[in-house]
């Protein structure tokens, strides 16, 4: 990640939020927070990166002010064999809002409350171990690396599209 992306994002007045979520005491479930912390370390000013244990309804206050929201979560392999980046839309029939929610419901909440929702993607990273523990599997480590490449590409793609 270099300065050009940062400068471009600022010029275009586009802000992104990267939300990585999962339990960091459940082995590979820490993938989401790990990715978020790595993106935070890039230090790109218009990219806000947040690590959470779980998604909660008040996150709508953060995403409503962004151009794009990228959600990152660990997904059980072998259903997910490699990193997947899915464009997602609001869905208010998703999780009923309790103390935790899901990306599509958050988008629906944003749309309903504020008449707007950001462009959004869900980055699904393959994971093999969800037992109690604080170590990542080799599958998860590779997935994190791939996810970071995908997020970098996603951010650049959106600035490039605007330029075109």
């Amino acid at each position: 990640m270099n300065c050009n992306l940062s400068a471009t994002l600022q010029t275009l007045n586009k802000s992104f939020v990267v939300v990585g979520y999962g339990n960091d005491l459940r082995s590979d479930d820490a993938i989401g927070p790990c990715v978020a912390k790595a993106v935070e370390a890039w230090g790109v000013p218009n990219v806000n990166s947040l690590a959470f244990h779980q998604l909660t309804p008040e996150l709508v206050e953060t995403i409503k002010d962004t151009y794009g929201a990228i959600f990152v979560d660990a997904c059980r392999s072998p259903e997910v064999k490699e990193v997947q980046v899915l464009a997602i839309e609001p869905d208010e029939l998703g999780k009923v809002m309790t103390h935790h929610t899901d990306p599509r419901s958050l988008l629906a909440l944003s749309q309903t409350l504020y008449g707007y929702y950001p462009r959004a993607w869900l980055v699904k990273v393959p994971a093999v171990n969800f037992e109690l523990g604080d170590r990542l599997s080799s599958v998860a480590e590779q997935g994190i690396s791939d996810a970071l490449d995908e997020i970098d590409y996603l951010l650049r793609q959106h600035t490039h599209q605007h330029e075109v």
């Binding site: 339990n23 005491l25 959470f52 244990h53 779980q54 909660t56 309804p57 008040e58 709508v60 206050e61 208010e92 029939l93 009923v96 809002m97 309790t98 103390h99 935790h100 629906a108 909440l109 309903t112 409350l113 109690l132």
Partner: protein, 474 residues
């Protein structure tokens, strides 16, 4: 032929639960049970861990009320170190607990329970949730989300994370509030107070048409337990324990958490992983007691903040004295949010909250410690035994929701008896049974200390044990 109606899963609560309602041959409700169907084992797998890790580990019992465990664990560690924490540390811990109470109660009211009051128990289940609430009253929904955000953000300002902040430690806390955080809190206080006052006014307006629910949703005599301050004022962090009865008589007072085994027993039933705490002098199950917002308002003499105290006086007038209806938990939660906001208004102006003197250092000076704190849902005990090196040998946790177990069962039975009189059970009736549980705002993830998804399963069981009907949610 007798039947059993089973509600499985219970919706809009945290954790996994099942309700079984047993009908007799005449089709009338005989009994009902609230089963918690998951087990976790925190008390066991913490053995062998260093005491210093317990705050971080027990905070992960739950993603909903981690602060409660953090504080109770830290207080237990204080006892093991035999330290008195700096005044600044106590004020900061109090601020975090008040923020926790605010965010938890806000979510309970606005997201979990108000869809029932505002949209109706018989409304379409597909929209009887926060989206239905938004459609009916977007300003209310928006303000409720922002109120919860207020509480969560204070937790993050203090602990650097909203959930599982590793900030409260034995001896104090890791860091004070920053000036930036202080400014943010000051800025958001007026809105938070207004939202709370509006919600209280709204709820009071609804109470007049919810008289059936007030009478049928778990209205029965019981003891109430919680912390009170040295002058009997409402407490959430320190003070001493008090038991009072439904007539307002103080049954036991000035109790220390160190002696909890003398007055709290824990029974077990083979149909639930949730234990059944009871007041020992009265035995099981006569020693039924309730904890949490309803109990805290019932046992205290007053609230030492003016607006909340005024609301408390009206609360008692409307209840006719001690509030014995579990439906009044919703009302009590809102008053507690107001008390929390008023206290945060005071604390944020105290110079100690930005002081750097926030931790006392010591080694292992006691081999046993018991800490107590008021979680949003009620009184929480952590009890550790350690070796000379501070390694955990034994843990016992008494969780708020568990202490309401007997009362939740009684509530479910009462509601079922009031609303179910035939073999045809409309959805709205089942929701009322669930709503009875929801009044307690249980955290089943903590109380079993259980993990997993949260369904509610309802079974209809005949007198001969045949399952005649079943209903599932989620």
């Amino acid at each position: 032929m007798s039947k059993t109606v089973v509600i499985d899963p219970v919706t809009r609560i945290e954790g996994h639960a099942k309700i079984s309602i047993y009908l007799n041959d005449a089709g009338e409700v005989d009994d009902a049970r609230f089963h918690v169907v998951e087990f976790r084992g925190f008390e066991k797998f913490c053995e062998g861990r260093p005491m210093w890790e317990m705050a971080g580990i027990t905070a992960r019992i739950c993603g909903i009320c981690p602060v409660s465990h953090l504080l109770a664990s830290a207080k237990t560690g204080d006892k093991i170190l035999a330290v008195q924490i700096p005044p600044a540390a106590e004020k900061l811990r109090r601020m975090m607990n008040l923020a926790q109470i605010t965010q938890s109660h806000a979510l309970s009211f606005f997201h979990l329970s108000s869809p029932d009051f505002l949209l109706g128990w018989d409304s379409d289940p597909a929209t009887r949730n926060v989206f239905g609430l938004i459609a009916a009253d977007p300003d209310l929904a928006r303000s409720g989300i922002r109120l919860r955000q207020f509480g969560q953000q204070i937790i993050e300002w203090l602990g650097a994370k909203k959930i599982h902040a590793a900030w409260a430690v034995p001896g104090g806390v890791r860091s004070p509030l920053s000036e930036e955080g202080r400014a943010w809190i000051r800025d958001r206080l007026p809105e938070s107070r207004a939202t709370t006052e509006n919600a209280i006014a709204l709820f009071k307006g609804l109470l007049d048409r919810l008289t059936t629910e007030v009478e049928a949703f778990g209205k029965f005599p019981s003891l109430f337990m919680g912390l009170v301050g040295k002058d009997g004022e409402w407490e959430h962090y320190g003070g001493h324990l008090r038991f009072a009865d439904s007539e307002g008589n103080i049954i036991a007072d000035n109790l220390s958490e160190d002696d909890y085994k003398e007055f709290i027993g824990e029974a077990v039933e083979n149909w639930s992983y949730l234990k059944f705490p009871y007041y020992k002098p009265l035995g099981y199950p006569d020693g039924i007691y309730r904890v949490g917002p309803l109990a805290r308002l019932n046992i205290c003499d007053y609230i030492d903040t003016p607006a909340a105290d005024k609301e408390l006086q009206e609360f008692r007038q409307r209840a006719g004295g001690i509030a014995t209806s579990s439906f009044f938990y919703h009302y009590a939660r809102l008053i507690e949010i107001l008390a929390a906001v008023e206290k945060i208004e005071q604390l944020v102006e105290d110079p100690d909250v930005v002081s750097k003197r926030v931790r006392a250092e010591a080694g292992i000076n006691n081999l046993e410690g018991i800490g107590v704190s008021e979680a949003p849902r009620g009184t929480l005990f952590h009890h550790y035994q350690v070796d000379e090196n501070g390694v955990i040998k034994k843990v016992n946790l008494i969780i708020a929701t568990g202490q309401n177990n007997l009362a939740m069962n009684k509530t479910v039975t009462q509601i079922a008896k009031h609303y179910i009189h035939s073999n045809e059970i409309p959805e709205g009736m089942l929701n009322r049974v669930e709503a009875g549980i929801r009044a307690f705002d249980p955290c089943l993830s903590c109380s079993t200390h259980a993990v997993g998804q949260m369904p509610l399963h309802i079974e209809l069981i005949a007198a001969d044990g045949t399952v005649l009907d079943e209903a599932y949610r989620n």
